[in-house]
Symmetry: D2
Amino acid sequence: DAPIAILAGPCQMESRAHALEMAAGLSEIAQKLGFGLVYKSSFDKANRTSLTGRRGIGLEAALPVFAEIREKYGVPVVTDVHEAGQCAAVAEVVDVLQIPAFLCRQTDLLIAAAKTGRVVKIKKGQFLAPWDMKNVVAKVTGSGNPNVLVTERGSSFGYNTLVVDMRGLPQMAETGAPVIFDATHAVQQPGGQGTSSGGDRRFVPVLARAAVAVGVAGLFIETHQDPDRAPSDGPNMVALKDFEGLVSELQAIDQVVKQRKSASQA
Amino acid sequence: DAPIAILAGPCQMESRAHALEMAAGLSEIAQKLGFGLVYKSSFDKANRTSLTGRRGIGLEAALPVFAEIREKYGVPVVTDVHEAGQCAAVAEVVDVLQIPAFLCRQTDLLIAAAKTGRVVKIKKGQFLAPWDMKNVVAKVTGSGNPNVLVTERGSSFGYNTLVVDMRGLPQMAETGAPVIFDATHAVQQPGGQGTSSGGDRRFVPVLARAAVAVGVAGLFIETHQDPDRAPSDGPNMVALKDFEGLVSELQAIDQVVKQRKSASQA
Amino acid sequence: DAPIAILAGPCQMESRAHALEMAAGLSEIAQKLGFGLVYKSSFDKANRTSLTGRRGIGLEAALPVFAEIREKYGVPVVTDVHEAGQCAAVAEVVDVLQIPAFLCRQTDLLIAAAKTGRVVKIKKGQFLAPWDMKNVVAKVTGSGNPNVLVTERGSSFGYNTLVVDMRGLPQMAETGAPVIFDATHAVQQPGGQGTSSGGDRRFVPVLARAAVAVGVAGLFIETHQDPDRAPSDGPNMVALKDFEGLVSELQAIDQVVKQRKSASQA
Amino acid sequence: DAPIAILAGPCQMESRAHALEMAAGLSEIAQKLGFGLVYKSSFDKANRTSLTGRRGIGLEAALPVFAEIREKYGVPVVTDVHEAGQCAAVAEVVDVLQIPAFLCRQTDLLIAAAKTGRVVKIKKGQFLAPWDMKNVVAKVTGSGNPNVLVTERGSSFGYNTLVVDMRGLPQMAETGAPVIFDATHAVQQPGGQGTSSGGDRRFVPVLARAAVAVGVAGLFIETHQDPDRAPSDGPNMVALKDFEGLVSELQAIDQVVKQRKSASQA
């Protein structure tokens, strides 16, 4: 049981300068606290609530920036893919291909991502039970790629609300894939602001502490130096200034839980 | 308030012969009962629960069959599209492009479907509130296509279960788009059979009667001459032999409800 | 399959004068439209959201008024009981003892109600599945009283929201007890106004039409001459002036559905 | 922020001998690990799924046993009350009166419990939002008793399933009342075994670790020396032999979380 890794970065790639600035800040914290960092950003927010929501700088502009971040900061990078045709190009630069939650049952996308040989990180749909992920994972492993990560980001609970069932974390671990907890999307209120999704970042540390105490391989935490001005997911993102304090608390809990687990297995 | 139309056909296009046989049976019933029929079938089930689930005969094989059905039986046809790149080709033959529920927020797919000028029928995601559909509809109308249909097929309710909130029908009608009730997918139990979705077709008439009494523009009812042997959605499909009885009851309720509505508005 | 009966009246008994006025209005409509009326009112709202919510005139004051209404208008009456000790006294005057939804699993209350020999009408808890009602009904029938009615009034759906699963109506009918649909409490938004429950009476006719089309023995519809000034459940109650129009539409749907049912069974 | 207290004991009081044996075992562990123990047992299971479920030894037989446990082991005791009339008698012996979840809105019961001056521990109904508890707590504090504990035991999530929303713990803390997490009832599957409730005790440590990492005043953990033979709630109860290991892990997490909290507030 390795210590928790952290997948972090701004929801969408806003510009090269912004991406490099965020990567610099995050990798400094990662070195200080000693955790494995994977830099995250989306080149295209393909399922915004509204037609007029900003979508990111696009695939072509983003790939060189991901390459630059990998080289300059020595960190792996993760980004979303939305159609099968994107997977090969993205995989030339990006270490981890993320399958969005709404798309987690799209067979062609899963197969195309699998065929790249890169790690495939699948977000559990808000409409799926934890045990349903075994079929989803099998679409990737059955296509010859054993490198799968599964991610919890909440389940539909009435309207415009998500709930995280913490029992789902060990249930998803039964797939054999390491489990990542997405602490920022889990506090989303989908569609909750009329023409965009709301959220409540006060609950990010609450759910993150809970998930780490249950036991996870890593956390996904979207961060921004000024979340209230971010073009997407602002209400859920963690301010960069609060990031170090949050992660160091999670590390402390993780250490207690994993030490006891190894002790009881020894 | 026109009488209810019926969108019907087998879940997936299994073969040309099967499609023609089903279209013949359904158009005979439509003529007898006097309802507007739209023939439905999927050329590709792109989000099966499991990698090994049968997916249909594919786009290229299906389009000529749709063309043949339109010509031979004089009925419009509807089928699903899954990626933006498919829309133009499908629209050459098919009257109504259906956006699957999991994909109802994929902006590029909605825009590509809109650009064809065909009617775009959008299924409400199991993870959306009825009022969230106004943003979804606006992605199509804002792309210059006013011909939108919206469809209710149930909301996530705990695990492996859907529930239909009948209040959602008038709420979705506030988008201005006619509302279709999908009576067969609404009784699905997603992932409920381990490696495939379950369902309970006994509740198709129950929910269909309720929706018609609330007031809808049409119903979507998947039908098969032998549902228990169908390659997908068998547990929910209505047997062809029960179809006439079901629709004629729905027509009787529809008539009562719409007569009273016109009377009260006169 | 008898035509639908209607249980109606104001949520709480506000005064003798108000109760008689409401009973007069409702029995006049019942005679005109030819439906079986059961007059409903609560003598005590024992589970208000807030300590300061008005609770009604109390058991002692209410019983003579119920007796007067029965005699004067020749209609049976129904009211809630909250503790086992109340049942015997209430049963001396009241025809139908109603078990509130929150209390539907309280064994002693069910047994005490059963022992009176009166009809026991049990509301399904917002936390129960339709099939769970068989155990609840068995607590009454197993205590020697076969006269049970079961009532649907919605299930918890996320926070501060109820949803009606129309499949629950035939599922509850499998208990053998006639099913009543409570169209006004089903549109409640529990706790939705901070210190009281909200609701949306616009959806009462929507859900009532749906339930009748599915098939029920009767409806429960709280009514008030001025709902916006009622001391409880105002947001859901139907204005008395709209009551006749609503019921006559429900009767028309009921007739269509039950005629076809008898025809298909003949 | 005091270290977590533990409320523990068998679901129902089965006999004097059994109660004393369990109290002995639990108080030994409490002394060893140094936590505050409150001994829990119900004298009457008043809302069993089925009429034939065993209900416990009853009020009169149980009170002397509670008195004996308090004196012999020097621990406070907690038990459920179900009707207003029971509160005074129970309060003569018992330190903490627990209001069952289904009854958490019954005004008379809350007032009667409040009037005893004992601590009133209120379980949040499966049908309430966390913020709805402020009205519930106010029924007790508004009756002159400031000693209230609130308890999370899960929310309805579809049928026969509960989910714990960990955000609810800090939301309930805003009432000002200390928050107890009921780790055994939270894993119940209400009505899930046809004529009794199911559950899955494997998830008790999962949810308990999560709740402690979020931050709570105490935990409620039903325990039994042989849960599979217990007359009620067997599927969720923790075996006595596993109790020490579970609590000592929770204490370790609690220490980390509360130390950091005091540090950040210093």
